[in-house]
């Protein structure tokens, strides 16, 4: 499995498209915790879809003032259709050009497969990674680790 960036590392900044004409950079979110969820692909066929789960948990994440970002190598139009279809209420970033460029910086790119790992990062308000986890690609990691990390952050 990939060697993802460990806790204590400064989270590499990036600017990626969230919509066809809008970009979002990590540094814009300084001052609040950020959850970065790299995932292999849009259109996972099961109800157990990771993004659907996080979508339901947004109010919990918001209790910690945390912003959730989903990231995959899918393009903006694909993300837009997926977001619409699944009623997602958080941004999906397109790590599309150069493909997987941001995932590589986080150690979360699967070279042979050309997709992101299922890797999670919780970043504190100063931009430092405080928790990271890489799940086997077929296993949806759930949200317990994220919630625990956010809780520990508040202590």
């Amino acid at each position: 499995m990939a060697n993802i960036l460990p806790p204590g590392t400064l989270a590499p900044d990036f600017a990626l498209h969230v919509t066809p004409d809008q970009k979002l950079s990590l540094s814009e979110l300084r001052g609040q915790p950020v959850i970065m969820a790299f995932y292999p692909a849009d259109w996972s066929p099961v109800c157990g879809d990771q993004m659907a789960l996080y979508n339901e948990l947004l109010p919990e994440f918001q209790k910690f003032n945390a912003e959730l970002l989903g990231i995959s190598v899918d393009g903006v139009w694909c993300h837009e259709a997926f977001t619409h279809d699944r009623h997602l209420h958080f941004p999906l970033l397109a790590d599309f050009e150069p493909k997987g460029g941001v995932a590589r910086k986080y150690g979360a790119y699967r070279e042979g497969d050309g997709i992101c790992e299922r890797a999670l990062f919780v970043i504190d308000k100063t931009g430092k990674i405080i928790w990271s986890y890489c799940s086997p690609v077929a296993v949806n990691p759930g949200a317990d680790g994220i919630l625990q990390a956010l809780e520990d952050l508040g202590k």
């Binding site: 099961v46 109800c47 157990g48 879809d49 990771q50 659907a52 789960l53 979508n55 339901e56 948990l57 919990e60 699944r86 009623h87 997602l88 209420h89 296993v139 949806n140 990691p141 759930g142 949200a143 317990d144 919630l147």
Partner: protein, 173 residues
């Protein structure tokens, strides 16, 4: 390995003996087709193990993709308050193709429950906090989709199929 963070208590809907050697917990969504398929399978698993297995159902409605899941969960909780949880749980899964207020009210009547009482409970969200607390407890325990099973507190990451569940439960007997 993800673990069940919320211990089984008297608040739970439990079928069988709370002191059985193995307790199977399902976090489920009444509108999820995978849960619908798991429903008869669980009955077979229960039959297979008899009194040696207890079964607990907790709510995990994915409301953004399943618009009737929350009301279905609250309907089952309403039935629970009237001691008819399992009948309602079964009836909802058996009518999964046609979920909606009309069906919930009809099922209540069939179970000799007050359909007016159910309508009022759904409108006021009387059982919403119960459903929510199941959901949050599940998320904290590593529920990652529906259905998610826990066997004696450990998350079961295999396929929700009879043979796999039976093998895992056998290992705990």
């Amino acid at each position: 390995m993800a673990e069940l963070k919320i211990p089984i208590s008297a608040k739970d809907h439990l079928q069988g003996d709370a002191n059985a050697p193995v307790i199977l917990v399902e976090y489920g969504d009444y509108e999820c087709p995978h849960c619908g398929r798991a429903y008869p399978m669980i009955k077979r698993v229960q039959k297979h193990f008899g009194a040696k297995l207890a079964f607990v159902f907790r709510n995990f409605p994915l409301n953004q993709i399943h618009p009737n899941a929350e009301a279905a969960a609250e309907t089952a909780e309403f039935a629970a308050e009237n001691e008819r949880f399992w009948e309602m749980h079964d009836a909802i899964f058996e009518n999964q193709e046609s979920l909606g207020l009309e069906v919930f009210l009809l099922l209540a009547e069939q179970l000799k429950l007050s359909s007016a009482g159910l309508r009022e409970a759904l409108e006021s969200g009387k059982y919403a906090s119960r459903v929510k607390s199941d959901f949050i407890g599940g998320a904290r325990s590593g529920v990652n989709g529906t259905p998610t099973f826990f066997i004696n507190g450990d998350r079961f990451d295999g396929a929700p199929e009879f043979d796999e569940l039976v093998a895992e439960i056998d290992g705990r007997m």
